[in-house]
Point group: C2
Chain length 277, copies 2
């Protein structure tokens, strides 16, 4: 049975993502931080880690990008999860009574239209969506609610006061599966992730993209991250269609190395499916 680490309390969207990927019969390993997930995968105490890398409304999750480079692990898979937020509370509270709503600031922001209509309730930022349930439980007697997943309502024995309260239904988070070693296999739609640091030459990024464009390799995403100790210089993270075993990709990366100070290959994996949370 696989043991899977994710950041957050039970009921976190990362746990839901892990179960979509590996099924319900996994041993879960909730973790305090993203870095703890990387450490658990690195030292072998879990088989895989599942981490958010990008949200369709908020953009990239920088910390995951930086930790990918720091820990030199492999990307073994990905999936997209549609994020649905619900207002949850202990079974004795009514919607009109709610005085406080706990959740992660992003979740509060994603439900701002709904929260404006809850005139008597103050939004209280917390460090986790599912974890805010624990904060609400501590509000002895005060009618407190949380914004979190359907799974969190089951785990913490909350009822759903109102479902699907987010402003924008087109809210997807892309999750990565990380592992210690590369899985060699055939993929229906292979996707590869790399990152590189370019030499300081004119038009460097244009030249970097040309190594892919010249070979008709589709880039899906490019993200820049600052390099510590080199203010306002960047590492570029790129996702592309194709496998590291594919001759075209090998040639493109070899070409890229001519204009790069360093290149890191995170691996090839199956392009992700989309699931509902």
């Amino acid at each position: 049975m696989y043991k899977i680490a994710f950041q957050g309390e039970r009921g976190a969207f990362s746990e839901i993502a892990a179960k979509k990927m590996f099924g319900d019969s996994i041993i879960i390993s909730p973790s305090f931080s993203f870095e703890e997930v990387f450490v658990k995968v690195k030292n072998g105490s879990v088989n895989f880690g599942v981490l958010p890398i990008e949200n369709s409304l908020y953009g990239s999750i920088f910390e995951t990008y930086d930790l990918l480079l720091k820990y030199s692990l492999t990307i073994a898979g990905e999936l997209n999860l549609q994020i649905n937020h619900h207002l949850l509370a202990k079974k004795n509270f009514k919607l009109s009574e709610i005085k406080k709503v706990f959740s992660h600031p992003q979740a509060l922001g994603q439900c701002s239209d709904f929260l404006k209509k809850l005139k008597n309730a103050a939004a209280v930022p917390a460090y986790d969506t599912a974890g805010s349930a624990i904060l609400a439980l501590k509000e002895n007697g005060v009618p407190a609610a949380v914004i979190a997943s359907r799974e969190a309502s089951e785990i913490y024995d909350f009822k759903i006061l109102k479902s699907n309260i987010q402003n924008n239904r087109e809210n997807y988070t892309r999750f990565l599966v990380i592992s210690k070693s590369r899985v060699k296999k055939q993929f229906a739609v292979p996707k590869t992730s790399i990152c590189f640091e370019l030499k300081s030459i004119p038009g460097a990024l244009f030249k970097a993209l040309s190594v892919f464009a010249l070979r008709d390799i589709d880039l899906l995403k490019i993200e820049s991250r600052p390099i510590p100790h080199k203010p306002f210089q960047y590492m570029f993270y790129t996702d592309l269609y194709g496998s590291l075993d594919d001759g075209r990709i090998k040639k493109a990366i070899s070409h890229l190395s001519e204009i790069s100070l360093s290149i890191k290959k995170f691996g090839t994996y199956e392009a992700g499916k989309t699931y509902k949370s």
Copy 2:
């Protein structure tokens, strides 16, 4: 006398940036959120807003990028501020007595090496560096400290228990000055910011960069931001050397419009100087 809005409490790094840019004799308008700063500039209740756009360790500040597009204001200037963090406390506390350290999570992270050595002190995340001083003042009797700027120590009458406690001295934040209308003038080193949404065509980003590379226009930065209601499609924000009045830039933007769904010009301004906080 200019009236300048910034996000945060008195003593925030944005206030320091505003004073480096406009001098000490300004009327300051501290604001609760980044969006409040944009609203104040838009409705004319202040002359300028000063907002962080990028940190050399943490990367881009997404919210500022998104608000730039939402409010259609002009970028009138920029500056880089070296961020120096200090441990501050009320005058009667000693370093060895400190039980809690309040600050913004990024500031806590940037001082993690120092905090590890403070064995009896718990790090407590707050929503603002300078504003955490107000939290510390509420800790009646508990020896609480904050991580914030030198200016915050003066404003809140705290003493500096330990100065320059950040892990990495190469910590710079780039700030933008936003205004309602474009300032037409000559710049020594003009810099221009635009953003664009590309058509869904193969190699779109490569083609977009080529309009600049072909004309020897230096791109300083490219940042992608998700487009709401179009999951995993992106707006690209670009900074380049040159003026919107320069023929080469005009031609490049006209060329870019052939492959873009939309282009927004944020303005031309003087490339920023670097100051110490």
